[in-house]
C-alpha cells in the first residue's frame, strides 16, 4: 500500500539566499545538506518570530505534531551542516506559497504583485522584466 501523500505546507516569504557555505580549513568539497523551504519556514516561525509551536503549526496549515517533526528535522540538518562543515542548500519540498513572490534579478528585491496579470508584472523599483517567479503552487 502506498503511503498517504503529504499535505502542502503553507510558507510565506521566500528565503533570501540559495544556501550557505562554510569557510576555513575543512570547508572543502563536502556534500551539501538540503534544507527544505518548509523546514526553513518552521525554524523561522519558531526561533525568529518566537511563535509557539501550535501558533506556527496553525500558520503553516499543518498539525502540531507535523510541525514538531519539521522543526526537529530543520535543527538536525543545520547541526549536521555545522558539525561536518557542509554547505547548506535550500530546496523545494512540499511547500505552498501563500501568494506569488517575484525576485528581481536586476536590483535583487522580492515583491508580490496582487491583482496583476503575470505578463504585466514588472519590478516596482527598477521596472525590469528580468524576474524569477518564486512559486511552488
Amino acid at each position: 500500500m502506498s503511503p498517504r501523500p503529504k499535505n502542502n505546507r503553507t510558507v510565506f516569504d521566500p528565503p533570501k539566499f540559495k544556501g550557505y557555505k562554510p569557510f576555513g580549513y575543512y570547508a572543502g568539497d563536502n556534500e551539501p545538506v538540503f534544507l527544505l523551504f518548509e523546514e526553513y519556514s518552521a525554524l523561522k516561525l519558531s526561533d525568529y518570530e518566537l511563535m509557539t509551536q501550535s501558533q506556527a503549526a496553525q500558520t503553516m496549515n499543518i498539525s502540531r505534531p507535523t510541525f514538531t517533526r519539521l522543526y526537529e528535522s530543520a535543527r538536525r540538518k543545520i547541526a549536521l551542516a555545522l558539525a561536518e562543515a557542509r554547505p547548506i542548500e535550500v530546496e523545494k519540498g512540499s511547500a505552498y506559497y501563500s501568494n506569488d513572490w517575484y525576485n528581481c534579478r536586476a536590483c535583487n528585491i522580492f515583491f508580490t504583485a496582487p491583482e496583476m496579470e503575470l505578463s504585466s508584472v514588472r519590478c516596482p523599483l527598477c521596472q525590469s522584466k528580468n524576474l524569477e517567479e518564486i512559486t511552488t503552487n
Partner: protein, 108 residues
C-alpha cells in the same frame, strides 16, 4: 498610487528599516502628486503584534504598496488579505530618498 516605506527616523536622508513592525516612521510617497508624508509608526509602544494597528492606519491613508527589509508572517497575512503589495528590500543600507527616486522614475 501611495507607497509606504518603513524608515529609521523622520529625516529625508534616513535609511530603510529592517523590520516593518518595529520601524520608527513611515515615509508615504504619493506618485501622482509627488508628495511625501512622514508619519510616526502608530504601533510604537505597543507590546506584541503591531501589525493590525499599522495596517489599519496604512489602509486609512489609501496605501497600496509597502517597502521594508522584512515582514513578519502575521503582517504578511494582513497585507495579503487587503491586496497591498509587499516589497522586501534585503539591503537596508539604502536611503529612503533613493527608493523615492526610483518610484519617481516609474512615471517617466
Amino acid at each position: 498610487m501611495k507607497t509606504a516605506i518603513a524608515s529609521q527616523n523622520s529625516s529625508s536622508e534616513t535609511l530603510i528599516d529592517k523590520h516593518f513592525g518595529k520601524c520608527s516612521h513611515f515615509h508615504i510617497y504619493d506618485d501622482s502628486s509627488r508628495h511625501t508624508e512622514v508619519i510616526e509608526n502608530p504601533a510604537q509602544g505597543i507590546k506584541g503584534c503591531k501589525g493590525d494597528v499599522i495596517v489599519d492606519e496604512l489602509i486609512s491613508k489609501n496605501v497600496k504598496s509597502v517597502v521594508a527589509g522584512e515582514f513578519s508572517t502575521k503582517v504578511q497575512q494582513l497585507l495579503n488579505k487587503n491586496h497591498i503589495q509587499m516589497i522586501i528590500h534585503p539591503d537596508t543600507r539604502v536611503p529612503v530618498s533613493e527608493i523615492i527616486e526610483l518610484l519617481n522614475h516609474k512615471n517617466k
